[in-house]
Symmetry: C2
């Protein structure tokens, strides 16, 4: 007697053809997990009413491997990454798009888990999935699933957030411990390190943390950036370079968990260069520091918020780190790929 | 003596790391081809000012194979597809995003050609690339390059374009000959058919053709849709299904070039089910037909615009085709994958 695998247990090429099978995938698997009245119109574009405004628009593709890792998965990452790009621009997200590239053979159960995570995370962030797209490619032409999210939001910052407004004396804050996303993903790939860890990704939507800053810190809020690929080092080096000011940071002030530091040492990585997905660098005027710290610490994602550095009156565009032992080293933007496919 | 391949001739994983090499790729290869003042701010989100409006938002990922085909390439396709999704929603595009997933080993020269095409097509369509993202995956985890574009636009249609407004007597128009994109792509894969053809993809931005309809036809304009994956059959069957009206179309009225018909026969494909990338199905009130045809025919992409069908007073949701020989057949939405990776 022949056993037949139930039809539809895995993604097949025909799921991407734009025909009845595509409809079944959309109606049976995808839409129930991300639905809302705008998406359910199923037209070529979503239509939303917006007031006269400055509109923020962003996009990111996600290719993280493995698809599921301690603390998150590619679905949660795709929602948070785009929500966070809007949030650090001082914008309140209106909604996001969800575009899937599926590899033939992907288990539908896994797709369902990832889409459940997309739906849950969108709800957590308070954003709607407004529009989407699904393509299927043959085996060995993707790696399970790639997700693109684009996002639109309304800029709430009265004064544009821009490195151009940064002056000597302005202060750099960070909302919590670094390097957890990159290391959690990396360690989940290495099953034979003989090393067990509780390390989980920090992936989280930051709009709930950041919108109060935008609304209540006012003019004193100058710039925000989430240190993802390239890590904290990438953002700090870029801040120094773009402002052409010297930026001095204090290594002892940069929060990092002991187990994160241990994992980084084990893998030979500089935690400053490791990707975060729930962290934000905030630059404020000196007189706004207390207010900003208070607002950050009121939120679960900002409990460990702290001042990590200050812009100096020198115009060399260098970021200098005062190390734990009192030495000084220059922070540079990482050269290339430290951790491939981390987001 | 050893010959060394010049560094940077091909994409390497490190181009995706978010470090200096990523910057070099962006500054040297990508940005010069798609630049504009908003993109060059290089922040996490693009910011554009919009009036109070209904905003259209859409996304599509493109995985076409081969990357370059007669009449176009994946770059032109990615710009047109998203511009067209906005245009058929009655929206004037504000701008689009450009997100690249690059396979390690991709020749930079090819990437440059594709990005040149993105830039040219965006200019042709009058849209700006507002924001973007680049990821790199290892060999055999993609197929050269996948592109996602999302788009935002301002809805110019006073009355929402919707299948809900369609009534018996309303008329279906088409702007030109069908099935050229899918067949041109398909034939460019089949090098050993012993068949040479002048068939080229119809891929083109439709916003210049459609905006005048939106502005000048007014209330009589009911619905527009570009028949891409699933072809004309997909759109017509969906129109019948969603309106729950009978839609009768006349096969002799549907424009198709002789060589397209021949190629479809050769490949055993129904041209009605083959993807188009420069075609649009327009539904109007009977009294708006003349005005709409005139406007369409004034534009190079609408010279062959014609009436192809009409909604009847029967509520069976069936699309019926009166064939060339006077018979009748029911048009159904294609089941699955007729032509994989056509867009």
């Amino acid at each position: 007697m022949q056993t037949v695998e139930p039809r539809g247990r895995r993604i097949v090429l025909a799921h991407g053809g734009g025909g009845q099978l595509t409809d079944e995938l959309l109606a049976g698997i995808i839409r129930p997990r991300v639905d809302n009245p705008i998406l359910s119109e199923m037209d070529d574009s979503a239509v939303v009413s917006v007031p006269a405004s400055r509109l923020a628009f962003t996009t990111d593709s996600y290719v993280v491997r493995p698809l599921e890792f301690p603390g998150g998965d590619i679905g949660r990452l795709a929602v948070c990454g785009t929500v966070n790009d809007l949030a650090v621009s001082g914008a309140e997200p209106i909604g996001i798009s969800l575009s899937l590239i599926l590899e033939e053979g992907l288990e539908l159960e896994r797709l369902e888990r990832i889409l459940d995570s997309v739906g849950r995370t969108a709800q957590e962030a308070g954003v709607q999935i407004l529009t989407g797209d699904t393509k299927v490619v043959a085996r060995s032409q993707a790696d399970g699933i790639y997700i693109n999210t684009a996002g639109i939001g309304i800029v709430r910052a009265a004064e544009p957030l821009s490195v151009r407004r940064i002056q000597p004396g302005d202060v750099v804050l960070l909302n919590g411990p670094i390097a957890e996303h990159g290391l959690a993903v990396m360690l989940s790939r290495e099953t034979d390190l003989g090393f067990s860890t509780e390390l989980v990704s920090d992936v989280a939507p930051l709009n709930g943390l950041l919108l109060p800053l935008v609304e209540q810190v006012g003019d004193g809020l100058l710039f925000m950036r989430d240190p993802t690929r390239g890590g904290l080092a990438g953002v700090l080096a870029e801040l120094a370079e773009r402002t052409r000011l010297r930026l001095v940071c204090d290594e002892t002030k940069i929060p990092i968990r002991a187990e994160t530091r241990y994992a980084a040492e084990l893998l030979g990585l500089d935690p400053l260069e490791v990707a975060n997905e729930g962290k934000v660098v905030v630059v404020v005027r000196p007189e706004a520091v207390d207010r900003t710290l208070k607002l950050l610490r009121q939120h679960p994602l900002g409990r460990q918020a702290t001042v990590i550095g200050e812009f100096q009156d020198e115009t060399d565009g260098i970021c200098e780190l005062v190390t734990r032992v009192g030495g000084r080293r220059i922070i540079q933007k990482p050269y290339g790929e430290q951790l491939p496919r981390i987001c």
